[in-house]
Amino acid sequence: MNHTLILSWVTFVYFASFVLYLFRLIIGKKVLGRAASFLAWAGLIAQTIALILRWKNSYDLGMGHVPLANLYESMIFFAWTIILIYLIIEWRTKSRIIGVFVVPMAFLAMAYASIAPDISNRIEPLIPALQSNWLTSHVVTCFMGYAAFTIAFGCGLIYLLKNKEKGRVEKPAGFSGKLPDFATLDTLIYQSITLGFVFLTIGIMTGSIWAHYAWGSYWSWDPKETWSLITWLVYAILLHSRYVRGWRGKRMAILAIIGYGCVLFTYLGVNYLPGLHSYLKA
């Protein structure tokens, strides 16, 4: 079976899963939540198969490389890591509510990858600079970090939403009543950021080691490198403000959202600036 066909189905499966999570939140029927999780798992498995097929396909075409080499492949992998990390968290916390905010991110990444006119979904050969074993470890760790920050962003959004609703006391059992409590959200934001931070650190380091072997310089102040450092510093500030100043709750949520803005700029915005990471240009 063709992997592109599977991937376009997966896009719809994630969308359906998101819709079910949403209904689960509004109507409150548990069976909907279970169906949503089931769809997310099914999508993840199908996507894994599609990625393996694409990998194999690249060998059949005589190029033979991990499907992590251009913008399309990275977007698909981004969606995959988001769903993976989300499902692990869902399984650990037994809470399905963040799915409403996180699963659509994966759907958007998938949809953007297939719809955007300037993103080609063809399997492209690897240029010499990318022919390295560090490619896999660098991309995987970076996207694990991005995905963890996505979860933190989702939780941050829920936190602010709930915080806004808090003022209106007349509807305590309404929409916000169904959202997880503040303490859980705060813990989730903090934990996903620590996870993301560790992955981002390792991602920057693997990239640095790779650059040392490929270009002879572990740090070249290329826009992507600079912005990943900025992102790293923003999250470092967030963690320091928590440890040293004891910031919690709303401030954490806002910082998680600001940090995610940096993540998105590092990932996508930087592609419009000239630099060494320009393979991601479509």
Binding site: V198, Y213, W221, W227, Y243
Partner: protein, 438 residues
């Protein structure tokens, strides 16, 4: 008054940390803006070094500043337990038994010891207390991270002061021992020379480059010390330098692969470019390459040679596709002796093919700061793991006699990941229950 002072100190001391990180955070960002305005060397500007120094100073000062508090936390007395830690405990955390305390105590003690190693205990009026802890050293994990940043900064500074970056372009077959410094316009004389034996570029079917490969020889004191193949992502090391494949290009001249026969026997093969001279030992003659043409008069590649010996001095063309040309003009060679590759008898030359000459562009780096930066990176990962994934957990077990029964309460504190601690306490309760029953 004291509280206000403490408060000011408390808010002020961490703030330079945040402000400083912000300042540093701004400089790369601003750097990007400046890059557009051609202020390209911001990252090596004095402003940047000053910021780095400030950041390092700030890291050191904050670390020293916070040390006493951390040290107190590290050496916190085990008893008494934090206020109210045993209040409002769920029933599952209180085990009630009606056995003698003398029998129960060793059981609890051994359960704790098995999990936590060293434990301490105290006998009070209220009852008997045990204390256990784990991951205390993780309090200092943050110092490992800060130290790793300092090490990396030192490594980067060493690299920028003592490091050297240079580029060389070498034509195939040539050797070079002078490199152009990358950051300034100066030249750097190497105490060895590098010869490019061959450069190969391969492409995929769609035209994307697949491989850039330079076959190099490193020559020192006239001897080839080390031949090596250089690929992108696979640098070579010679002397103190790392060599990287950075670029390539086509040199202006074209090489001709020429063979000749002597009275019908195959005698020699040469690679020639326009302007080259060569020696023909059998005929005691000297040859000159006058011209190398890729496509002369629509007949394909050809070269023009001049051969000079004591008796003769002739000039003639050698066509690659001579057979086809003769087939179309049967009398060509008699009419135009200049087109006869066997004009210098008894030698007959033939042109096998023309080849482009490549030059390979190498990037040379010598950075003594790299080991320090790598060490810093390693330490940072270790530090992050310790800080985030090894929590400092403290446990108190309180045994007291109540209505002729002993109640054992277990409570704990953790600086991170309270869930994990709660799970551990649940497990401990279960173990103690099982052991008591047994």
């Amino acid at each position: 008054m004291l509280i206000v002072l403490l408060f000011i100190a408390g808010t002020f001391i961490p703030s330079p940390d945040v402000v400083q990180t912000f300042a540093d955070h701004l400089s790369p960002g601003a750097g990007k803006v400046f890059l557009f305005f051609c202020l390209s060397d911001l990252y090596h500007s004095s402003l940047f070094y000053i910021l780095l120094t400030l950041l390092s100073l700030n890291l050191i000062i904050c670390s020293i500043d916070r040390f006493p508090a951390l040290w107190r936390q590290y050496n916190a007395p085990h008893f008494p337990e934090p206020d109210g830690i045993f209040d409002n405990l769920p029933q599952s955390r209180i085990i009630t038994v009606d056995k003698e305390i003398g029998k129960i105590k060793p059981i609890v003690e051994s359960c704790l010891k098995k999990k936590y190693g060293h434990i301490s205990e105290i006998e009070e009026k209220r009852g008997h207390f045990f204390y256990a802890q784990r991951g205390r050293f993780s309090l200092f994990g943050v110092y490992i991270i800060h130290l790793s940043i300092l090490i990396m900064i030192v490594g980067a500074i060493i690299g920028s002061i003592f490091g050297l970056e240079a580029d060389i372009n070498i034509k195939e077959g040539e050797s070079v021992n002078v490199a152009n410094l990358t950051k300034s316009n100066g030249l750097y004389k190497l105490d060895f020379s590098v010869r490019c034996d061959k450069f190969t570029v391969e492409f995929y079917k769609d035209g994307t480059p697949k491989t850039y490969r330079s076959d190099l020889s490193f020559i020192k004191n006239g001897q080839v010390r080390r031949p090596g193949t250089l690929l992108v992502n696979h640098p070579l090391t010679f002397d103190k330098f790392h060599f990287y494949q950075s670029t390539y290009g086509i040199a202006p001249e074209i090489k001709a692969i020429v063979t000749y026969t002597n009275a019908g026997k195959k005698s020699g093969s040469m690679t020639l470019a326009a302007g080259d001279t060569f020696f023909l030992p059998q005929s005691r003659a000297r040859g000159f390459v006058l011209r190398v043409e890729e496509n002369i008069m629509q007949t394909g590649p050809a070269i023009k040679l001049r051969i000079v010996s004591q008796k003769k001095d002739v000039q003639f063309w050698v066509f690659q596709h001579l057979d086809q040309i003769v087939a179309m003009n049967p009398n060509l060679l008699t009419k135009m002796p200049m087109f006869n590759p066997g004009l210098f008898q008894p030698l007959v030359f033939s042109l096998k093919r023309l080849e482009q000459t490549y030059y390979t562009g190498l990037h040379l780096v010598c950075d003594p700061g790299v080991p320090l930066v790598a060490l810093g990176g390693l330490l940072m990962v270790v530090g992050l793991m310790i800080v985030f994934f090894i929590p400092y957990q403290r446990l108190w077990v309180f045994m007291k006699l109540k209505d002729a029964k002993i109640s054992i309460s277990i409570a704990g504190r953790s600086n991170r990941n309270n869930q994990q601690l709660q799970k551990k306490i649940d497990y401990l309760c279960k173990r103690i229950n099982e052991e008591i029953k047994a």
